[in-house]
Amino acid sequence: MSILIDRNTRLLIQGITGEEGSFHAERCLKYGTKLVAGVTPGKGGTKVLNGVPVFDTVDRAVRETEANASLIFVPAPCAADAILEASDAGIGVVICITEGIPILDMVKVHRHIAGTGIRLIGPNCPGVISPGQCLAGIMSGDIHLPGNVGVVSRSGTLTYETVAQLTQLGIGQSTCVGIGGDPLPGSTFVDMLKLFDRDTDTKAVVLIGEIGGSLEQDAAAYIKAGFKKPVVAYLAGGTAPSGRRMGHAGAIISGASGRAQDKAAALSAAGVAVSPSPATIGETMKKVLDGLQ
């Protein structure tokens, strides 16, 4: 088992003929993902990667291939449109890698999909991997190991570091999800914790937060209210200056809730094992798992 995607996921890639799209499409395919279709308007009827059919619209792709998850690489000015297209075509899991989508575009997207049950991951995220089953993202598949720890993070590359530590210690992962660094992520830590809670293959969770916003405090409240699986956390940006945006649109300390220290305190108070260094996330999880036995 896993969350969001598994070996039966039928993946579609929007923007499959672009530079990033085609590069990562090939990597997803090589990892063993069932990549059933690509979409690029005007290139319908062609094939890429030795046989993946390309369609003009998501609607057509879904009707012909029964794709049920989409991975989006289209440029920022068109990305909100792409998310809406995927959701309207009946795609259940929409993963948007694209960075730099205007926030008011995302306001519209959120309003449109609210209440529809569509699960949006990202934007501005590395995607999702259920190791050994399905890669729908831009992470390197080879650093992952199938197993029972869920990983959820606002950061891309920091997630890779975390996964590398886990794998090196022999700790496999059920699913790793990058929820993205934008101020309005499609899914939150709480959304993912809810899914991990129901997933019998997930025994523990790593949560990688960062400065800005209050998603980590929301997670702390949710965990405190009854999330039973052990959680290890790290909060990036403890040394970041206030009032400056640290790359991610969402990573800016602007209110009282935005500081890494406050987030760490909230999570600790909820029983989460907070790793003080990004280099000790794996070790912290190992201790937690050893304690479980």
């Binding site: 960075e99 926030i103 008011l104 309003r111 920091l158 940006g237 990004p278 280099a279």
Partner: protein, 388 residues
């Protein structure tokens, strides 16, 4: 992106929001002439990208054109230090010279996107003119909020709820509700990240005026607002960050340590800064080279480091994903070709195309310190920055 008060007010005026009469002066003579046109009395406001100007001496009242000239001479060409700036302050190159306003009542008004509700929120408070953060922490009940559903857009009742909620009478409430609608239309039309009027004044003659105005814009949406992008005043920013941006390195923030870090990914870049600090050093910057696979950006990052006398060592930490290690190492090699890298560089590589990247680096015969993981990289960089 920020703009000056006078630019924010000009945009507001375009959207039908009443602002005080005034003009911009770049010289003392202009300040005197404008004060003359305003009837002999004016307020001179230093145009810098920071709040807290009043307490810092950046806002002065002139009772004659002559006094305006003299005050302008004192202000122009200086650097203004407020509680929102660095200790170096910001250069005062322009003054907004405005009519004086008899303020009867002052309110606070702002619009941002509420990330919990995932829609814009309009905030108002009858406790205007003072720091809204203070009001928010001490008496949050004094801040009224309404959300704007993108399905309906701004509706009059939202403005009325705020205006009457602040205790306004019919005339003021009607004008304020209309003004809020106009401010919302500006916020939406120009992709603002913040639209703020503080204070929003009710004058002795009953008029509603935006006495101070602030607009920030969503950087991600500037592609569709070339007019706004053109307003950007780079003189108000750290020259190194301006240079970095000109070189295509957008996510660069200068801080005060000695280790120049080049990292891919914002979270990882923050984590590397944390690790340097935990290892006893201090980072010189935040720098996320991003996901666009562009060797030039790597070259330019090296240029930034080498032009910064604070940088005593360079730490490169790349965990390839959408960014490819081979592309980045090609940039590192190119940087060494183009310039003399006279500080030690610690390099740690992992992820997408790492083998190819390491091969490129090996074949180039560069001198660098190899690190096995990012903790190792941080420890080695701290040691290198100390000269050993």
């Amino acid at each position: 992106m920020k703009v000056h008060e006078y630019q924010a007010k000009a945009l507001m005026a375009q959207f039908g929001i009443p602002t005080p009469h005034g003009e911009v002066a770049a010289t003392p003579a202009e300040a005197a002439a404008i004060t003359g046109r305003l009837g002999g009395r004016s307020v001179l406001k230093a145009q810098v990208y920071a709040g807290g100007r009043g307490k810092a001496g950046g806002i002065k009242v002139a009772n004659s054109p002559k006094e305006a000239e003299s005050l302008a001479r004192q202000l122009l060409g200086t650097r203004l230090v407020t509680h929102q700036t660095t200790p170096e302050g910001l250069p005062v190159q322009k003054l907004l010279v405005e009519q004086t306003i008899d303020i009867h009542d002052q309110a606070y008004l702002s619009i941002v996107v509420d990330s919990s509700a995932r829609m814009p929120v309009i905030m108002a408070s009858a406790a205007g003119g003072i720091e809204i953060e203070e009001v928010a922490s001490k008496s949050p009940e004094k801040i009224l909020k309404v959300h704007v559903d993108p399905a309906t857009g701004f509706q009059t009742y939202l403005g009325q709820k705020l205006a009457y909620g602040m205790g306004m009478d019919k005339e003021s409430a009607r004008a304020t509700a209309a003004l809020i609608g106009n401010l919302y239309r500006l916020f939406e039309a120009k992709d603002c990240s913040l639209a703020e009027i503080n204070p929003l004044a009710v004058t002795n003659s009953g008029k509603i005026l935006a006495v101070d105005a602030k607009l920030n814009f969503d950087d991600n949406a500037l592609f569709r607002h070339k007019d706004i992008e053109a307003l950007h005043d780079t003189a108000q920013e750290d020259p190194r960050e301006v240079q970095a941006e000109a070189w295509g390195v957008k996510n660069y923030v200068k801080v005060d340590g000695s280790i120049g870090c080049m990292v891919n990914g914002a979270g990882l870049a923050m984590a590397v800064m944390d690790l340097i600090t935990l290892s006893g050093g201090r980072p010189a910057n935040f720098l996320d080279i991003g996901t666009a696979n562009n060797p030039d950006r790597v070259v330019n990052s090296f240029k930034i480091f080498l032009s910064d006398p604070d940088v005593k060592a360079i730490l490169v930490n790349i965990f390839g994903g959408i960014a490819r290690v081979d592309v980045i190492t090609r940039g590192i090699v190119e940087a060494h070709k183009q310039m003399k890298v006279n500080v030690p560089a610690v390099i740690r590589l992992a992820g997408t195309n790492v083998e190819e990247g390491k091969r490129i680096l090996k074949e180039s015969n560069l001198k660098y310190i190899e690190a096995s993981d990012f903790r190792d990289a941080a420890v080695k960089a701290v040691r290198a920055a100390r000269g050993g």
